[in-house]
Symmetry: C2
Subunit: 340 residues, 2 copies
């Protein structure tokens, strides 16, 4: 890229000019009318989710390159679809941009976004670009799901095992390392890179769905409860319990954390990162014990049965080794806990 | 509303608190999971459109109450669906809000939005509320359309009549009256109110589709070309001609304008308002002459055949009374024309 191009600002080419530049990230023929048209498969329900991200609030040039901001925004929305059991159909991208923003920043944002989307065969099908004093990114993702396979927060029943599809705390650890590199002095480069990558390039767990439906075929009338852990593992379990009118017991030692944590963090720190760190974008699923074991086996590394659904309404953190006393988790306690 | 409530700010109740307050504008049961689930009819294609609106750029407290800003945002998105031939299924609303913004402002925005949406049986099915230094509204609307009835810009053919579904220029006249009340001294109150209302409460022409499909049944294989006139009537016709590789002749006296214009504006001003004013949210449709006549008859007041599609690529404004010389319309000329 020559220096003239790389210093070009949004106001130099205008919203319309920028939209034309961004069209190479979208499938041809989909753009050009007042709205995009997409095919859905017969008998499928439509699933829709939306996120707004604001510069300085949800992303920042300090810890996040434009490519990573784009990847993370796409991943978060695809994760919401995965959390409903839905396959993605497409996303729309609304951008509010200051005139002084570099065009190359926007192109790099789209580059990261499409890198993530292409991994899951998801096109950008529409968008809007407008002038705004603050860089703002509004993504709406839509997908489709067989109505019998919708995953809902409200479907957990007493006795269900709680499956966590991967390790928790890695994304928060990566963010901490970006903000305070000195924290990483006891980690080797590979360990640091892995944690930072977990923060910058989270993987929405759409792959879990294929395995889930394979295991469930003989029990297809079963409703699976679940959501993603974007706001933290504790939050996910509490939200599921609230929506389902049940409680849960989490087993301290069964909560999967990155191996690195064992020699890098105290057990208490590791627990905080895992429960309250957020943005790991794993799925938390509640299903009968036997199916849960099968799912964890198929998922492999990081997946675990982290607890079980109980009667009542409390979510208890239990340590079978009795090193920690039982703790009742709730959302406000969670956040206080983390900010200590 | 007591004064304590009316002065409450977004930061007093937080994003989560505000989301809870706004849920009364949404159908129960649709909200609560990571994403919303909607049914689509078998065999229909999904249509998606998105708009971002920024305080000070797209709306302003000077001319627009929060209710009107909400109505207009919803209407613009429904109009994009109508322009594709699609029936609305729902919208998602992403909000970026400064902490200092009054909660009542947001509730009034939602009030106006749902007033418009309810008229067209369209639910708000999801949303996101985040902190932002500038009030930002990102709406994504989705609808469904029988694939054989998709209206596209690219489907105009030589000989088609150009149907305009209603008067043009009223919205811009209303905005001018709000900004410069002194311009209205030759208008009575009823006339002023009607023009201002056209600006504040535009009506997306979803009603046109029902009439269109009734008229078209015997010719159902016919592709209709069209778009909405949100960016002005001249823009709509030029866009259709560009996408279809055709030209057009517009007949000056056939362009429908509000009756008020005849005794209030010079013919030249009236023409500028009609061609370049924008935000009338009417439909511009291209179809065979006979069907066009039937459609105009069914639509009644304001609807007209304003011209015809020709070979070539120029869009000519013609005056059969020869008071004005023929003019070739193009987009940049349009804007220059209007800014004179």
């Amino acid at each position: 890229m020559n220096s003239e191009l790389s210093s070009q600002q949004v106001k130099d080419i205008g919203e319309q000019g920028l939209l034309e530049r961004l069209q190479r990230f979208c499938p041809p023929k989909i753009i050009g009318d007042d709205a995009a048209v997409l095919e859905t498969a017969p008998g499928q329900s439509l699933v829709v989710t939306t996120d707004v991200l604001v510069d300085g609030v949800h992303f920042s040039n300090i810890t996040t390159s434009p490519e990573d901001a784009g990847w993370r925004a796409a991943a978060a929305n695809l994760s919401d679809l995965a959390a409903m059991g839905a396959s993605p159909l497409g996303i729309t991208v609304g951008l509010g941009l200051p005139g002084e923003l570099r065009v190359s920043w926007v192109e790099r944002l789209y580059q990261g976004m499409t890198e993530c989307l292409q991994k899951y065969n998801t096109p950008i099908v529409g968008g809007d670009v407008v002038r705004s004093p603050v860089t703002t990114l509004a993504i709406t993702a839509f997908g489709q799901v067989n109505p019998s396979q919708i995953i809902r927060r409200s479907a957990a029943v007493v006795g269900d095992a709680i499956v966590v599809t991967g390790v928790h705390g890695a994304s928060h650890a990566g963010l901490e390392l970006l903000l305070h590199p000195e924290l990483g002095q006891n980690l080797n480069n590979e360990e640091k890179t892995a944690l930072i990558r977990a923060h910058q390039r989270p993987q929405p767990r759409l792959d879990v769905l294929r395995i889930l439906w394979k295991i469930l075929t003989p029990n297809s009338k079963l409703s699976i409860a679940g959501m993603d852990s974007s706001d933290g593992l504790a939050d996910a379990i509490i939200q599921i319990c609230r929506a389902s009118g049940v409680g849960a017991v989490l087993e301290h030692r069964q909560i999967p954390v990155p191996k690195t944590f064992n020699h890098w963090l105290t057990p208490d720190q590791a627990l905080k990162y895992a429960l309250y760190g957020g943005e790991d974008f794993e799925l938390v699923l509640c299903l009968p014990q036997e199916l849960a074991s099968g799912l964890v086996q198929h998922l492999g590394k990081g997946a675990a049965i982290a607890g079980r659904i109980t009667a009542g309404s409390t979510v208890i953190l239990h340590d079978e080794q009795k090193k920690f006393p039982d703790q009742v988790l709730n959302l406000s306690q969670g956040f206080q806990h983390f900010s200590q």
